[in-house]
Symmetry: C2
Subunit: 547 residues, 2 copies
């Protein structure tokens, strides 16, 4: 027997319709590529996203066709989020930090039909357009007057002229909620990048899940600053959650330095921000150097890579900002866990609470997780046993676009497919997960595993250390031994011996790295994560002490 | 093109699996019919709900068969919520406050196959069982030892013996998420009651929506007391939202008096409570009489009927408790709107904020609403125009069980069906809805409408008034004129003239009631709402002054 409820597909167009009807006057503020601050609101974004929809129809793009963006966080990008997906086309956010060759590969693999780009990426587009034969339409996110006469890019149009020619009424079509809505390629450290192909259903469910009080806790009372780029897993889904709750949105554009981010937070009364640790590092440095405080910021969601404990304490103790440690991945839309305490833990002493808050946290309802050993057996949730972390849920991929890489899932006895995250983790009795490593980064020393993240976090707690990467080096007796590669803070000093001594009492003796290597910079990937593969290549002549 | 996300139906069994795996140790506390306080946790509730599932299979009840409950809020009722729906049967919560004849009618209409009841309802069950031929299984929610030997009810079993005989492993079946999961009959002031038939999908989406920060804001940090009965629209969906977020739950059982509720709040560190105004009235009176304060309660959700302004102020000013005014109905699962401020409103002065907070609030994403005139045209959102309130969304009914009453929806130009709520409301430019009346209660005086709720709220603000009902009386010239029927607080005094004078300056002159009628009690329906129909009958000999 079926229930007798209204059948209404979960479509992304519902989000923008809701935001317009119920939160039309709420601000959307953007620092633009042009450098100025631009103000609009949900009503205008909705209106212009309907112009985008008409403009796409006018290009005669088919249902399911990919429309790519190469853009920073801003209102035009937001309009494309709703305009493209709302019509049944697929929004494909490109990561401008990728190598041009990789970008070309991705555009061709996705068979993008149109590409919308910020003017700051004009040189990049000039360099690649001729290698992207599927792209028939090039649109620059600017006014008609800002368009260069001689770009050489065939048929280049300005976004404002393109949508300006369209009427602003549009009836969003209704279709199967499992229709593809957007796509995002993984950073893919080995092999070619693979794409997650999200659906309207998965995006809507994630929008609910991510806004829940124990996840990012988004509400109409908030002024939210997504520092995490809209080309990086849809800014963690914040544009969608924001439309669902009708909060104020503040977009930083390309200016992610500490000063610009700080000024935006203060000027726009930002209450919540979200981003990767490297951005917060810059922000904290700016605050410290200039003895500043926050007047409205209440919490910040930090994820994308492990949040160093020192960062959580700094935000908390010095600035009264609650850090929510979050974990997820492109294949998960991306949110899997967020670290917020449970009722019973609120009675714990502060340092006990901090221990919990360092973990990556608990799953949001919708996501289930487990850790397994090499045989695939589920391991106990004791906070000690570690194993491969597997996940399942309606906003987690079943397979990659075009079936690349085959079926990634591992099936349990009930036939449920679990996605292997590639992370190694522990889960404690309260369901708090802690990543100990990427499975490919874990260091195997004498049959035991050493967490590279633990080793890095200790180095990061040293006042002279700006960034640290722990990697395993081949060792004749122990198989592998850890070393720590360190970037010092400008002007700060610390010797190899001092840093090794710093590990004493903070970690088991056999886990202390065998060596410290000082470098000027650690290679970062397009999403701001340390690229240990590249680092290993750079150190290919390195020999462990005593070997 | 379809997305490539995991396909996982939204099933109620996922909720209890999540609560067990990720929040197993979190407390579920119940004041029992037996009078004592019982403690269990999500793990145990999940385990026993699997025993319920096995026990239902053993009875050979079919998929979609209705299992009725006649029970207060407590852990056994919670186990039935998941055990019954999880197996694909339909949980039918009966309202024990209904007249026995009505109860019999409903059980027969629903064709309930089994009925589980609290021992406090044994006399009621004894009186009705022989008139309920579809019910093959009678289960008393108690220990085997508490079972009366001579109930006369055929095959009566105790719940503990019934589930105790079953193993606690069970593989929850997977099925279409649109499958019926539970049902609830409306109070139906005219004609026979009609039932809303919820689905797994609608229940799950509502569980997300209701837990959002701008709705009830449920989190694992909370200890939540649903005072609203589990037989009244599933306690506003709190059992489901609670499982989704893994909060502590505190059930009051049958003891809804001020003292019992207060003691439970204090003993169990309740942070959030939810219920209808009448319960809070009793609680506030208890606090005032005994000069008590709350030590943990932070917010309370008040809905089901209009929350008197005086109550919002009392909670806020005297006890520091945030009142969330909520609106919904059986046909809406039930949540439609909750009143929480927007970012831009946080800068308003206190009294301006209070004005907003008196309204029934903004829609939760998923629900859309509009007000229309008699021709069905949408009215402006200006906070003044009032009209019939229509709603649509995935947790709102499309039709009643067995098609009773035909197709209730009204269709717009795009073919979207809207459910007419029977409420008359305004909506302001910020999307805040305010109920001015039930359409059948609105008073039509000289071509203009008078809101009975406005008239009642003013009387309720008078210190001597415990309860007030405004009804329209036939008038030869004006068509109808309002009178206010008042119950005085014990020991308090106020005259007709004093009360009429109290209206001066608080409402337009022509809206001031023509008369005050003092009574000992105002009739309340099974869900605690004033029954104006009955009141009108009681006053059928009444004549307006000067007529
Ligand atoms: N906060 C509220 N203010 C005024 N009326 C309310 C409120 N909440 C619920 N109601 C009324 O209760 C009706 C639903 O009744 P029920 O289906 O029994 O829950 C609504 O249509 C409203 O008339």
């Amino acid at each position: 027997m079926l229930g007798q409820m209204q059948s209404q597909p979960l479509l992304i167009s519902n989000l923008i319709v809701h935001a317009e009807r119920h939160h039309g006057a709420t601000d959307i503020v953007s620092r633009r590529v042009e450098g100025d601050i631009h103000r609009t609101n949900w009503r205008e974004v909705a209106r212009r996203s309907r112009q985008v929809a008409n403009a796409l129809d006018a290009l005669a793009l088919g249902f399911g066709d990919r429309v790519a963006t190469l853009a920073w966080n801003g209102y035009r990008h937001l309009e494309l989020y709703f305009g493209v997906s709302g019509t049944g086309r697929v929004l494909h956010t490109l990561n401008p930090r990728l190598h041009p060759e990789q970008l070309v590969w991705i555009v061709n693999h996705a068979e993008d039909k149109a590409l919308c780009f910020d003017m700051s990426f004009l040189p990049l587009v000039k360099a690649v357009w001729s290698k992207c034969p599927t792209v028939k339409h090039w649109i620059a996110l600017c006014d008609a007057s800002a368009l260069p006469a001689d770009s050489g890019i065939p048929g280049l149009q300005s976004y404002e002229a393109w949508i300006g020619a369209q009427k602003d009424s549009y009836a969003w079509p209704e279709f199967d909620e499992n229709t593809a809505s957007s796509m995002c390629y993984t950073s893919g450290t080995t092999g070619n990048p693979k794409a997650a192909l999200y659906s309207h259903r998965s995006t809507t469910l994630h929008a609910y899940g991510a806004a829940m009080p124990d996840a990012m806790g988004c509400s109409a009372r908030d002024s939210i600053l997504p520092v995490v780029p809209m080309f990086h897993v849809n800014a963690w889904g914040l544009p969608y959650s924001a439309a669902a709750v009708g909060c104020k949105l503040v977009f930083p554009g390309p200016a992610l330095d500490g000063k610009s981010v700080y000024e935006l937070i203060e000027a726009e009364g930002v209450t919540m921000a979200a981003g990767v640790p490297t951005v917060w590092q810059m922000l904290l440095a700016h605050l410290q150097q200039n003895q500043l405080k926050f007047s409205t910021l209440k919490r910040t969601v930090i994820g994308g890579s492990a949040c160093p404990p020192a960062m959580i304490s700094a935000f908390n103790d010095l600035y009264g900002v609650d850090v929510l440690h979050a974990w997820g991945m492109t294949e998960m839309s991306p949110l899997g866990t967020v670290c917020t305490l449970k009722n019973a833990q609120l009675a714990l002493p502060g340092d006990e609470q901090l221990k919990v808050r360092l973990k990556q946290g608990r799953t949001i309802f919708g996501v289930d997780m487990k850790i397994v050993n090499e045989a695939g057996d589920e391991l106990p949730w004791d906070g000690k046993s570690y194993g491969d972390l597997l996940v399942r849920g309606p906003w987690i991929i079943a397979s990659y676009f075009k079936g690349e890489g085959g079926d990634p899932l591992r099936y349990d006895a009930q036939g449920h497919g679990w996605f292997p995250t590639g992370d190694v983790a522990t889960i404690d009795a309260d369901g708090f997960m802690q990543i100990t490593d990427r499975s490919k980064d874990v260091i195997k020393s004498g049959g035991e595993w050493i967490s590279s993240i633990d080793v890095e976090n200790i180095a990061m707690a040293h006042p002279a250390v700006a960034m640290a990467a722990c990697i395993g080096m081949k060792h004749p007796k122990w198989d592998e031994r850890p070393i720590v590669v360190v970037v010092k803070k400008p002007g700060a000093e610390v010797t190899r011996e001092e840093l090794l001594k710093f590990y004493e009492g903070r970690i088991a003796k056999w886990q202390v790295p065998d060596d410290v290597v000082f470098v000027d910079a650690i290679p970062l990937g397009a999403t701001g994560k340390m690229q240990k593969m590249v680092l290993r290549q750079q150190l290919h002549d390195y020999v462990l002490p005593g070997v």
